[in-house]
């Protein structure tokens, strides 16, 4: 049996249903984001952990040039090592039908009998490699999918200069390549990069690595010191061309994933807060108005013996019901969006299964957070209900205390009409409420700007990378550093208009106690194709001596121009040199160090060897060129800019489009919620006054001016605030998105401001008009008879 007081509650709620719905939607948006981000974070994290466990993902990884198998027991004996596996890993080019340029493959050795001890392959289709079948391979799922490869089909690979036909017997996945990206690429491109697993013996034979290995993965004993194991590994592998061990945290796939997880968690914690703050404010204002209107009802209830606690809770329930409704809307929408986002992740990341899982605790948290926000919002009103002295509440409220506004006090009042004065005095009588309303709308405005700025930042990054920095059409990488003659041959291939060499070596760079393993890229003094350009598009010439650092590397090393670094080359004769930082280049992408190509060649003492070349290609002969390159054994990889750009745009555009849509939707909800509520309350407070004006002969349009003028001023005030807030929010977001690989510029475009402004103005107009319809229906006699 529902009590009469609760019946009143439900009817009160029904009377303010529009406002209640608007607030519930704002709460719902916040809860939706919370649930979406956190549940996706949970699902991804959970999947990751169980996948790592089941496939025995390694803790430390290291590559070397060539080490004898007899070294293996010594590696396994390093204190702290629980399990160790040596492997042969080699790059191959793959001749895929339908592609002019070669695709790049990575061959990883697996034992013929049994399964890999670490980094096991999850077999999705087909079967495992049969012992003694050197031509059998298991192919990574994404590559198989991109080329429509099925078990039983074959593909052609160039292994160490020899073309071989390989038979696909299975399709698999590995925790090592959940994020499967070709070194140097910006985005995964499953068509051009694949993983192949092959029997160790056959693979070693093809690369002259019998009785040797060039790659090690190991798992640590719980509690073992990662640093010490890495030091031990590096020490033992140094004579064999060890490239420096990396912990799991820096393993490329894991590193991307943990960045992604971190972002999900940050977004899930910060964005909902914005919405709940606005919702709490709206509840505060709405409840305050209801309590003011029901002042005499409250007094009557108190006179009839209702206690402060009962009445306080009665009004608190109003907020709590709205919050509960909001959390239901938000949780359902969040779970639905979570499923969709998880689907996007299944495209981006290679998991055996990525199951979306909404943990009950997240729902509980969501509801608790929503109710908490609601309580915070209603607190003030509840306090007022309790404090309302019933005897005093019987008397009509004293007239509100108005003052002249600043504008009038400085003598500008005479330029204002009476209605304009009313608008200004109303706004200035409650400065805090006006400010918060401005803040709420500004929050919506800023969200649109932020959503857009992410898209714009990516656009700038792409323009930068693909038009300013990379002017080449293709990048050719040799399997081994090649002589100057190879470059000459390359430049004489059909369709090559111009070839610019580069020499890259992997090195560990030290500054004080900080060190970083990176690539040192040797470029010609004044590159024409792949240039060194700072964020202001200025081309940086390479100095004859010394080293140039990208800004992220300089930050990692805490190095400034003039500082001296120790460079330990991890290839060839492994020279160690002191080098001075000549310049730090402000770049958006990469953690590279740059030198003049001749300086690198001198450092390596290997004549005029080059790692590859950037090519300018005559479009008419491009196909022919790529066919020729595919047949050149020495070529390890061919990167085509157009293809990279396309794959980047495809995957980014889809995700960004969805994201911008939702940010705009949420922003609209927030702006609408704030404006609509302000309008309703202002109508409720002002109806008597406005009706009096109508009786005095004011026209509808004139009283609408007073009423809508207030909204217009609040909306207009909120625009610059929203723009500034949007700029700050974008800058903050870009900062939080920044990783070692990317730094995002905070891009503010006129379009973003325009979109944000239009969204807010649109939301204001719609809610203003909705309330104006009620203004037109104002019952003059009834309003005047009513005792305020």
């Amino acid at each position: 049996m529902i009590s009469s007081l609760d019946r009143k509650l439900l009817r009160d709620l029904w009377r303010i249903k529009g406002q209640a719905l608007a607030i519930a939607c704002v709460i719902g948006s916040g809860i939706c984001m919370f649930v979406m981000y956190r549940s996706t974070f949970d699902s991804l994290g959970l999947t990751l952990r169980s996948y790592y466990d089941e496939q025995r993902f390694a803790d430390v990884f290291v590559s070397a040039k060539r080490a004898p198998e007899s070294l293996a027991p010594r590696l396994a004996a390093i204190p702290g090592v629980a399990q160790m596996e040596t492997r042969v890993v080699a790059g191959v080019t793959l001749d895929m039908p339908g592609m002019d340029e070669p695709a790049m493959g990575r061959l990883i050795s697996v034992p013929a009998a049994g399964r890999p001890r670490l980094n096991d392959v999850f077999l999705r289709r087909g079967r495992w490699i049969a012992p003694g079948r050197p031509d059998e391979v298991v192919v990574s799922d994404s590559f198989a999918l991109a080329h429509g490869l099925e078990p039983g089909e074959s593909l052609t690979a160039v292994l160490n200069g020899t073309r071989r036909k390989l038979r696909v017997v299975g399709v698999g996945l590995t925790p090592e390549y959940i994020y499967s990206i070709r070194p140097g690429d910006l985005m995964p491109d499953p068509k051009r990069f694949g993983i192949l697993w092959m029997e160790r013996k056959a693979l070693a034979a093809a690369f002259d690595l019998e009785g040797s290995f060039n790659d090690v993965a190991l798992r640590l004993v719980p509690g073992a010191s990662e640093q010490e194991v890495i030091a031990g590994l590096d020490h033992l592998l140094e004579p064999y061309g060890g490239l420096g061990a990396v912990p799991r945290s820096l393993q490329i796939s894991h590193w991307y994933l943990s960045n992604e997880l971190e972002q999900l968690r940050n977004m899930g914690n910060t964005l909902p807060l914005l919405f709940l703050l606005v919702a709490a404010f709206l509840l505060n204002v709405v409840l305050a108005r209801i309590v003011a209107v029901q002042r005499e009802q409250i007094a009557a209830l108190k006179a009839n013996g209702y206690s402060n606690r009962t009445l306080g809770f009665h009004y608190a329930k109003l907020g709590l019901i709205i919050a509960a409704a909001g959390s239901v809307i938000g949780t359902v929408a969040g779970a639905w969006l979570g499923v969709e986002v998880t689907k996007l992740y299944t495209d981006m990341f290679q998991f055996p299964v990525l199951r979306y899982d909404l943990a009950p605790i997240r729902v509980v948290q969501a509801v608790a957070v929503a109710l908490g926000a609601a309580l915070a919002g209603v607190l003030e009103a509840v306090r007022r209900v309790a404090a309302l002295p019933p005897a005093e509440a019987m008397r009509p409220e004293a007239p509100a205390d108005y003052r002249e506004t600043l504008l009038e006090r400085i003598g500008l009042g005479r330029f204002l009409s009476a209605p304009s004065r009313m608008v200004l005095r109303n706004l200035s009588r409650r400065p805090v409420r006006t400010l918060i309303a401005v803040g709420g709308i500004a929050a919506g405005c800023s969200l649109v700007i932020m959503g857009r700025s992410i898209g714009d930042a990516v656009q700038v990054l792409m323009d930068e990378q693909f038009t300013v920095i990379e002017r080449q059409d293709a990048t050719v990488t040799f399997t081994e550093p090649a002589s100057a003659r190879a470059l000459h041959e390359l430049s004489r291939l059909p369709g090559v208009a111009f070839a610019e060499p580069f020499r890259s070596v992997s090195a560990r760079v030290r500054h004080g106690h900080r060190s970083r393993q990176t690539a040192i890229l040797g470029l010609v003094a004044e590159p024409r194709l792949s240039r060194l350009v700072d964020t202001r598009h200025r081309a940086i010439p390479l100095p004859a001596e010394g080293i140039v650092l990208s800004v992220s590397l300089a930050e990692l090393l805490d190095a400034r121009p003039g500082d001296e670094l120790i460079v330990e080359v991890l290839e060839g004769a492994r020279p160690v040199r002191r080098m001075r930082v000549v310049q730090v280049v402000d770049q958006y992408m990469g953690t590279s160090a740059y030198m003049r190509i001749d300086a690198v060649q001198r450092l390596m003492r290997d004549g005029r060897s080059v790692s590859g070349a950037y090519l300018q290609v005559e479009p008419s002969r491009a196909d022919e060129l790529y066919r020729r390159l595919k047949e050149t054994p020495r070529v390890a990889a061919v990167g085509r800019k157009a293809a990279a750009l396309r794959s980047f745009q495809e995957s980014i555009a889809k995700n960004l489009g969805v994201m911008i849509f939702f940010f705009t939707l949420f922003a609209t909800i927030i702006a609408f919620g704030v404006v609509y509520n302000s309008a309703r309350i202002s109508l409720s407070e002002r109806s008597r006054e406005l009706a009096s004006l109508r009786v005095l002969g004011y026209r509808r349009s004139e009283i609408s001016f007073i009423f809508l003028g207030e909204l217009a001023i609040v909306t207009l005030l909120s625009l610059p605030v929203g723009f500034a807030l949007g700029w700050a929010l974008s800058a903050l977001t870009m900062k939080s998105f920044a990783t070692e690989l990317y730094r995002f510029p905070t891009v503010m475009t006129r379009q973003a401001f325009a979109a944000a402004g239009l969204t807010v103005v649109f939301a204001s107009l719609v809610s203003g008009l909705a309330v104006r319809r009620q203004l037109d229906r104002l019952d003059l006699i009834a309003v005047l008879k009513m005792r305020e």
Partner: protein
Amino acid sequence: MIAALTPTNGTPVFAAEGITKVYRMGEVEVHALRGIDLALQEGELLVLLGPSGSGKSTLLNILGGLDVPTAGRVRYRGEELTTADESHLTLYRRHHVGFVFQFYNLIPSLTARENVALVTEITDDPMKPEEALGMVGLGDRMDHFPSQLSGGQQQRVAIARAIAKRPDVLLCDEPTGALDISTGVVVLEAIETVGRELGTSVVVITHNAAIAGMADRVVSMADGRIVDERRNTERLRPDQLSW
């Protein structure tokens, strides 16, 4: 304490001694009551007469436990109201006092029946809302909302709401202030009936001297003081009043 608030013969229902009340309204200090001594007997119908601003509403609020005096003592059946705390005053109002206001103070979102139920739900041994509405002659309007009722009908709902708890005292603040004569008479009849049938002590405050005819006793107030007190030898029926 509440259990002790049961009627005992001989003692007055209310005894007020030297009540003063000063409150601030905006920036003005208002002396609403300047030393009032008043007693109300069991089953008595008292009319408090006075112009607006004479302090009668303030006195009524203090008797009803809605307000406390600045100085002086009020006892209800021998129990001190002036020192009672908020929760005791709440229980006092809940169980012993019925209020009727000039502007009815009905909850607009509740029907007549529900407005009465609002009170019956929180008291011991109340009437049924239907019974209370029947007593004020609104048995056929129980499911109407306040906005669907005339002023007199709304006031009778308020009376039904006030008496449904079978209060010991019914306090009416200008119950006919917003009504025309004929409607006012109906409302006063309802009040009179309740007092007679339930034996409730009734205080009616009004600035309308004509109403004084229906009282056992008439107390006149002006400027926060009692200026006159007389006893009617014969009580008039409300339909005999004229104004």
